[in-house]
Amino acid sequence: MKGHKDWPKMWRSPEPREFYDIVIIGGGGHGLGTAYYLAKEHGLKNIAVIEKGWLGGGNTGRNTTIIRSNYLWDDSAHLYEHSLKLWEKLSTELNYNVMFSQRGVMNLAHNEHDIKEIKRRVSANNLNGIDSLWLSKEEIQKKVPIMNTDNLRYPVLGASYQPRGGTARHDAVAWGFAMRADEMGVDIIQNCEAHQIKTKNGKIEGVETSKGFIRANKVGVVASGHTGVLAETAGIRLPLQSKPLQALVSEPIKPIIDTVVMSSAVHAYVSQSDKGELVIGAGTDGYNSFTQRGGFNIIEETVRAMVELYPVFGKMKMLRQWGGIVDICPDASPIISKCDVGGLFFNCGWGTGGFKATPGSANVFAHTIAKNEAHQINSAFNLDRFASGKLVDEHGAAAVAH
């Protein structure tokens, strides 16, 4: 036993070179995954990932780690299901335990409209080959006995359930992708903030960073809440609005809830971490902000719904609360697309639900960058849809109303 000393470095920390074939801005799960798949599936090696802070310190480390693919429209269902299939083999693929736990995900219905919308979604999911079923109130009570289904303002009338959904260890996802990308020669550069995306004659030139100018043939921007301000430095306006999304965890307790329960209508969702903490997702603030904090009234609203749905949680103490800055698209769907500037790519607009898509998003974004064109799976998630009007409206499937 070494007393937890002499741990080897999990990845190198090189100084940036003058030139890379591809620079990825943003060292979260999506960015690191993109670098991993570029190296692994497309044989590209001269790649850098630059990160303003530390790996996974943004929304990768701030989300509530819920994974599911029960989206309504075909385009989204294919994208999120592609991701879920990659999740199912990710620990083996990376030889690193991302603690993917398929404990099931439940979406509650509290009124007649919810029932219709959720049943429609269950049918749409089944037609797309996604496991999704309708649970009656009695079946919910059996699965989650602590839930108060009747004696509350918005009674629980039923739910959709996706057994293959679940949770994963968010940090491990960033670290796993980082380790394997690093092994294949990807330079991971932390504490390196992108200042300006430089273009010349409609083509990408490189990125001005806090560690100097880095030339690049291609640049992929995966900076979640900050993607919009970075795009602006290249003269590109994206349909994104950045807002804080909050989460909180309770003191740890013995196992009490062994699935994920989400409710969009009363806005409370909860799962229990392996440490025993209740992981609770709150909503976004109603105004643009980059303060990774969020308003207290949002927490109050969520906790109110939690206590009504689970009276047994009423006397628990909350340990921590935090916010992450999410970039929200008008149709609650992401943008995984090239743009007018040659060699510049964006993977953004994941809004309040990007974690579940991490491997799938990274996989198709790597394809888009390597081939200069979208993969079939992300072809609908282009920037042109905001001119053509062919939006992918997923407000119903998004857990956090926005």
Partner: protein, 116 residues
């Protein structure tokens, strides 16, 4: 939570208000003639700066009047509130706390407001 000084009712909790997004957005002239792309930009794209932001609020649970506001989105500090028919304050009359597009303010999020 922010305290917003409604120009009609005085300072109230932010939860009484609703945000109306970017202020001073002008509908393009000649909308029958402009292309899909330009029209799409008007419909879907709004400013999203880290720093000085001109925005609209409405006092939904109060006087229900709309007004404009200048807020620093890196700190949430409200810099100016003005009525809807008043002139847009000039950008250079405000100090931007963020040195780079995605930089952090010196004191960290929210502390400006807290310290005052």
């Amino acid at each position: 939570m922010l305290i917003i000084d409604c120009p009609y009712c005085g300072p109230r909790d932010q939860s009484e208000f609703s945000n109306g997004g970017e202020a001073h957005v002008k509908r393009p002239d000649g909308s029958a003639d402009i292309g899909d792309r330009e029209w799409g930009e008007y419909v879907f794209i709004r400013a999203n700066p880290k720093g000085i932001f001109y925005e609209r609020w409405v006092h939904s649970h109060g006087c229900r009047k709309w007004f404009n506001c200048v807020r620093d989105t890196s700190t949430d500090e409200i810099l100016k509130i003005y009525k809807i028919d008043e002139e847009r304050p000039k950008l250079d009359s405000f100090k931007n706390n963020v040195k780079t597009p995605s930089g952090e303010p010196n004191l960290g999020s929210g502390n400006f407001t807290v310290k005052k």
